[in-house]
């Protein structure tokens, strides 16, 4: 398989480009070049890679547990639920430590995702398009609650940082939470076989001796933590969790354990690429990575929808 | 009289009708039979002008059906499709009344109301008039839709599998009514329908169009052309045309 070296070279090249490109010209700057790299560029590159990997992995987990390839954790209310938690704790205890805020956000994100999971069991399976639609609307409702709360408390500016993911604000000391994702990725890798079983459906998985509820909660817990970390540090970024797992499974088939590293790698590359593109297109201004990704992600989603049709008829 | 010449049609690159030609006389009840995927429904939709063929023409009573305006076409032929969409809460009478649409285009007159009333009575729907179509049983529902097609008062009526999933009682009910329509007292309508139950076809049809793989294998008066051999070849399984108490039946061997 030659794909691995190619992908790794791509990752290295992108990361290199990411270190070099930005509003400040590294070779002609009043600032110390090493300082710019250490304080801004390296953290920013790492943040994009970690967020991308985490969001893509979360996509796999959610798609397996609701048995639907068209679902994206970013479009089923998980980020909105995390924002709700953040907003609540900001209102109740404005001075709370970041870890406390994060934990609250993770809990509400888990609750929000769990509600979607229950909804998913009510939606008829024979119609795979219906569930992503329900997710979008559910996310929209939670989003409306968040927006209203923010309005009522004059925090609209505050939440707008969480609503659109971008990396321009990432500096040393403000992204390290994202390393939690690396830990979660390890957990998911250990759980890979059980998560594969989730994709067979509850009855089947139970018949094969899986503790279904425990596995679902563990998987969704990882998703919730990933999202609250990403929302707190860089902001919500939809479509990553949808597009990347689908591309990987089309390309390499459905072996989850073998696919997980690819999903993580490709997610990282895609998000870093989107961030880089957003930096270059209108230099020295920046376009948020989430905006760039929404355009590409939505276009890819449309392609997925319709190529599935071609496959059905084919 | 329907004349079809060299009709070909493909969809998504797959050829569904191959060079089909056919002459269908007036005043008959013609059954289109053949295995799944033979192109029966497609042919019927083409005859009704709803699908445009790649090649060939369909002439109904001397008029090129694909050159007619939609409204003029709706005065010559009606089609009952397999899946009928019903508006939620639409009453049976309102459904049947839609059959008169091509005649009045939104402004029904006394003549239209008379035809609707006659259709309701003929199909035994008076007691159900105010019920909503959603709430009917399968047999009642099908009867209401046939009544709508009847109220359209067209010389030609096409039905695509009108008997799917109906109990024997309703099969008989619908087929008796359809058969009566080809009689002189109902203006001698001409009917073509896709049928899967061969015994029903043998009993009611007086014309047969046998299709396989997008081609017409045989077409002609039922009694003259339909034999056990034809049916066995058509469906690739041994079938026998027999008689039971004077009525024709088709049984698998």
């Amino acid at each position: 398989m030659r794909a691995l070296p190619v992908a790794l070279i791509g990752l290295v090249l992108l990361s290199g480009a990411s270190l070099l490109v930005g509003a400040t010209n590294l070779w002609n700057t009043p600032l110390d070049t090493g300082m710019v790299l250490a304080i801004s560029r390296v953290p920013r590159t790492l943040a994009a890679l970690l967020a991308g990997a985490g969001l893509a992995l979360a996509g796999v987990v959610v798609q397996q547990s609701v048995q639907n390839r068209l679902v994206d954790p970013g479009l089923i209310g998980t980020p909105e639920a995390a924002m709700l938690g953040l907003l609540a704790i900001t209102l109740i205890a404005p001075g709370a430590a970041l870890m406390v805020k994060m934990s609250v956000a993770s809990l509400t994100a888990l609750a929000g995702t769990a509600v979607f999971f229950m909804l998913a069991r009510l939606v008829p399976r024979r119609d795979p398009m219906l569930l992503p639609l329900v997710g979008l609307i559910y996310g929209g409702i939670l989003g409306a609650v968040v927006l209203w709360l923010a309005w009522a408390t004059d925090l609209v500016q505050f939440i707008s940082i969480w609503r659109t993911g971008e990396f321009s604000g990432v500096l040393r000391g403000r992204y390290e939470l994202l390393w939690i994702i690396a830990g979660l990725a390890l957990i998911l890798f250990v759980l890979a076989d059980r998560i594969t079983l989730l994709g067979l459906g509850e009855d089947y998985a139970r018949a094969l001796g899986l503790n279904y509820l425990q596995t679902v909660l563990l998987g969704l817990g990882c998703v919730a933590v990933t999202f609250s970390v990403v929302v707190v540090t860089v902001g919500a970024m939809p479509f990553v969790g949808l597009v990347v797992p689908n591309i990987v499974s089309r390309w390499r088939g459905d072996n989850l354990r073998q696919n997980l590293p690819w999903v993580a790698l490709l997610g990282a590359v895609f998000v870093l690429g989107a961030d880089l593109l957003g930096r270059v297109v209108r230099w020295p201004y920046e376009i948020p990575a989430a905006t760039v990704f929404a355009v590409f992600g939505a276009a890819l989603f449309l392609w997925l929808l319709n190529s599935r049709k071609a496959r059905h008829h084919g | 009289m329907i004349e079809i010449t060299n009709l070909s049609l493909s969809r998504d690159g797959v050829k569904i009708l191959h060079d089909v030609s056919l002459r269908l006389p007036q005043g008959r009840l013609a059954a289109i039979i053949g295995p799944n995927g033979a192109g029966k429904s497609t042919l019927l939709h083409c005859m009704a002008g709803l699908l445009v063929p790649d090649h060939g023409q369909v002439y109904v009573n001397g008029q090129d059906i694909h050159a007619l305006r939609e409204q003029s076409r709706a005065l010559i032929l009606s089609l009952l499709t397999q899946s009928q969409g019903a508006v939620p809460r639409l009453s049976v009478r309102d459904l049947v009344a839609f059959g008169r649409w091509p005649h009045h285009r939104g402004r029904p007159g006394p003549a239209d109301h008379a035809v609707i009333a006659e259709a309701m009575t003929r199909f035994d729907l008076d007691a159900l008039a105010q019920r909503s179509v959603d709430s009917l049983s399968g047999g009642q529902r099908q009867r209401a839709f046939v009544a709508m097609a009847y109220a359209q008062s067209t010389p030609w009526m096409f039905l695509d599998e009108p008997l799917a999933a109906l109990d024997p009682k309703y099969v008989r009910d619908i087929m008796d009514r359809l058969h009566n329509m080809t009689g002189p007292d109902s203006g001698q309508r001409s009917i073509a329908l896709v049928l899967h139950d061969l015994s029903v076809a043998a009993r009611y049809a007086d014309f047969c169009i046998a299709m396989k793989d997008g081609r017409i294998v045989a077409a002609g008066p039922w009694r003259e052309i339909v034999t056990s051999e034809l049916l066995s070849d058509l469906y690739d399984t041994p079938l026998r045309l027999a008689e039971l108490d004077g009525a024709p039946v088709v049984v698998g061997l």
Partner: protein, 314 residues
Amino acid sequence: MAERRLIALALALLGLCALFLLWNLRVPMGFILGLRAEKLAALVMVGAATGAATVIFQTIATNRLLTPGIVGFDALFIFTQTMLVLTLGGAGYAALADTAKFVVESALLMGAAMALFGILFRKGADDIIRMILTGVILGVLLRGLAGFAQRLLDPSEFAVVQQASIASFNAVNPDLLGIAAVVLACGLGVALWLAPRLDVAALGRVQARVLGLNHDRLVFVALGSVAALVAVSTALVGPITFLGLLAASFAHALLRDHRHIVLIPAAALMGAAILVAGQALFERLLGLQSALAVIVEFAGGLLFLALVLRRRAR
């Protein structure tokens, strides 16, 4: 029967309007009355346009879950607006008279909507949920593209467009009221003229064609009037996704009649009544200025989920 309910609804709306105008009226009466009348006119027009557009749209799509907003009509409006600013430049755009702007934008929307949704309806007639999802994602894509394009604008141009993409009943442009009223009247007129044909179209594309309806032409004209109506409401207050769903569902439930000659006015009255009553409640009674749009989205989203889950029973 249906006619009597329609009249009752109209009377209720009149009562609400009077209440809205006269509630707690203080000196200077003439001035306050003028301000309130302007706002009332905007509320009524937006509600009527959205309600009528949704009923027509649902009939064309033979689906009671859809609204023009859900499948991205207002995203399309914002997109065309952004493109207009992008091509004309901020100064050129600002130099256009309000009326000219509105007419050009509406015409662009009508053209784009017919091209986009005309194809979608013809292709997707057999698979409604796929069609909805395609529309929703198309909306996300258009919003993303608009966001992307907005970032390419100068900050001053950006502000021009940004204002249009958030729904607000407090920032109505009074100069637009006149032209909006004309377009609304035309849109409603066309809709009522189409009413008998829409009755037939509700039976589905094939059945309607069997009955001699030129379905393609009807879709074309109907989408044109939907686009005009959506342009009215989006230009006046911005996108409200679910208002139409509320108005159309309530109108169907209230009338229990399939005739569009009564359904379209009923949905228009219902849409207006929801907005007037909501605004009176939130602004006058609860003192919440900006809550209405969010509350409408919230309630509409819940109704959508309820309708989807109820379909399971069938």
